[in-house]
Amino acid sequence: MTTLLTASPSEVLYKAASKAAGRRRSVALRRLPLIIGLALLAIAILAITFAPLLTSAAPNQIDVLNPLAPPLTPGHLLGTDQFGRDVWSRILYGGRIDLAIAFGATSVTLVGGTIIGLVAGYFGGKIDNVLMRIVDLFFAFPFLVLIIAIIAMLGPSILNIFLAIWITSWVAYARIMRAQVIVAKKQQYVLAARALGYSRTRVMLRHILPNTASAVIIFSMVDAIGNIALAAALGFLGLGVQPPTPEWGTMISDGQNYITTAWWLTLFPGLAIVFVGVAFSLIGDGLADVLRPGDR
């Protein structure tokens, strides 16, 4: 209290400013979410890659004597399901499919949607109108219903899950990108690039894209979580990966019949989804900090 009373205004100001300076200085701390997120994702990728080394049983191997064994049963770290299959093993092998969907589905829609948004935003006029009306068409349908309809038509399989996501989720990227490009193309450096006789492709890819891509890249992290959740939801509805192939959503769906007696069948696949979700979300946050130059 006394220090407060005796401190001169300039000292107070100095202290406040140095506090702020300290916050700005801690670049490492600002990178922390990104580092943790990448570390968690690396753990997940390593675990699913080396699944055979980390598990004692194959994912579809049935231990007839031990159905619905609780966690920490010898030989079954996370217990077994109704057929006596090892839950830990099924989570690791199932993760291969879920992460493949996260990366495979998201990367294609990211690239496709970004290019379409770039073209629409840069050229404007008729091209923009046509592309954006197509986007509107997709947005007009409830997203999940559209996906379910596509899979119901094509039949449930991993490839068809990919196809359904590729067909439907580029639209969000296209919209975000278009909005960014419309702002960026009015910048003087774009005019200057055109005044130097650069081709339109060059202006788009080298001058506009690097200045606008941060938003879609950050969004793609959120979208990757969404795609895992979507795969899980489809699995839960029986439209996803078909048994006996392990997949987190399918596992949760299978476990719901036993939820009162064998909680581990639903809890652990759920935690796996949360684990990967948190990893992507931290990476998205971290990237936003690193890629957005305005915050620096």
Partner: protein, 409 residues
């Protein structure tokens, strides 16, 4: 294409050639010795950096004369150029019947208040007005290309012309460079845009261009991002980029407006020096008549999308024949002037629905009834290509040049 000669420390300076200034007077550039020591200490390859004084021969080679033999022949002719822009409020007649011609190695000034169509004229000449935004007619003839109008050029033809033949520098250097690429990357891109050069040749040419526009330690500055440059340095870098392919016509759209007065003067001197070295033609746009008269051979005064007066710079300063030019001259601030700065009352008319008759009439001290109705045209005023869009130009001429710093009316 001009070969960018790889240089070494052993290349002797030509005895008859003027020395090129290594740094900039008044800038915080390190002296050449310090720069050299620093570079040696940093262990950088010494190639051209080792030369204590930049080699004039090299500077000459990088920006060699474009067409020294053809001085005086026309390079660009603009005939009855109109560019109408579509806005939410209506059609803006931003450029409304502008004609002029530009000779090889000539420096033409375009002056006028903001919103008089100067920049749109430049952008139309460069084909940078998007079709969705505006339409142009009239003719823009770039003579080396033949007698066809540039307005009819295809996208590919434009791409071949821009940068290599016509180049443009912009008002605000802070935003005219891509923030995510280094200055060097952008300069190399420009160097490679219209020429087939090896990596080493392109690099050497880029460094030499930066040196030529007066950027100290160019090899090191190549790696900097635009935000690491000051405004004046950025404008120098932009000039280097614009000149990367040795264009024959440079359009400078208010190149010094966003810079402080001292840097302004340096940039103008640099532009003029480069223009004289290369023999390129230049159109300098400014709202500052003082800037224009310092540099240009001929002046075009624009008002409300039209040319109101054009002629030799010296004639226009001493014998303005349009009340608007006279008023602009009168509005120039003068050292030692006391009291309120003189200004032109009123503001330029809306170009959506410009007034009939003379567009300057509402602000003109000499306005008569005839001014409000006559079909304005550029009248021959005193010969020697001096034209004025005022039927009372004889009277204006008799009034003599406006007393600088005094009330116009």
């Amino acid at each position: 294409m001009i070969p960018a000669e790889p240089t070494g420390p052993g290349v002797p300076a030509g005895p008859g050639l003027p020395p090129v200034e290594p740094g900039l007077p008044g800038q915080t550039a390190p002296p050449p010795d310090a720069e050299l020591a620093e570079l040696a200490g940093a262990g950088l390859e010494t190639g051209e950096e080792a030369a204590p004084v930049p080699d004039p021969e090299v500077a000459e080679a990088v920006l060699a004369p474009v067409a020294s033999s053809a001085v005086g022949t026309p390079l660009l002719t603009v005939e009855d150029l109109r560019t109408y822009l579509a806005t939410g409020h209506g059609v803006v007649r931003a450029v409304d019947g502008v004609s002029f011609s530009l000779a090889q190695a000539e420096v033409l000034g375009i002056v006028g208040e903001s919103g008089c169509g100067k920049s749109v004229t430049c952008r139309t000449i460069m084909g940078l007005v998007p079709k969705s935004l505006g339409h142009s007619n009239g003719r823009v003839i770039y003579h080396p290309r033949g007698e066809g109008s540039l307005l009819d050029a295809s996208q590919n033809q434009w791409q071949a012309l821009r940068g290599s033949q016509l180049a443009m520098i912009f008002q605000d250097p802070m935003t005219a460079l891509n923030p995510v690429l280094t200055v060097g990357e952008q300069l190399l891109e420009a160097v490679n845009a219209h020429a087939k050069l090896t990596r080493a040749e392109a690099q050497a040419r880029a460094v030499e261009l930066l040196r030529r526009v007066g950027i100290p330690a160019p090899q090191r500055r190549m790696r900097d991002y635009p935000f690491q440059f000051s405004g004046g340095m950025l404008q120098r870098a932009l000039i280097a980029i614009a000149l990367a392919s040795s264009p024959r016509l440079l359009l400078a759209d208010e190149p010094t407006t966003s810079l402080d007065v001292i840097i302004q003067d340096q940039i103008l001197s640099l532009l003029l020096e480069l223009q004289q070295d290369t023999g390129m033609s230049m159109i300098l746009v400014s709202h500052d008549l003082a800037v224009i008269t310092e540099v240009c051979d001929r002046i075009i005064v624009m008002y409300a999308g039209q040319v109101v007066e054009q002629g030799r710079a010296a004639t226009i300063i001493t014998e303005p024949r349009h009340p608007y030019t006279r008023a602009l001259l009168g509005a120039l601030p003068q050292a030692g002037h006391q009291g309120e700065l003189p200004s032109i009352p009123g503001h330029p008319p809306s170009l959506i629905d410009p007034p009939a008759g003379c567009r300057f009439a509402p602000r003109c001290p000499l306005v008569t009834d005839k001014c409000l109705t006559w079909e304005t045209e550029l009248l021959d005023a005193g010969g020697d290509g001096h034209l004025a869009r005022c039927w009372r130009h004889e009277e204006v001429a008799r009034q003599g040049p406006a007393q600088q710093g005094t009330e116009v009316q």
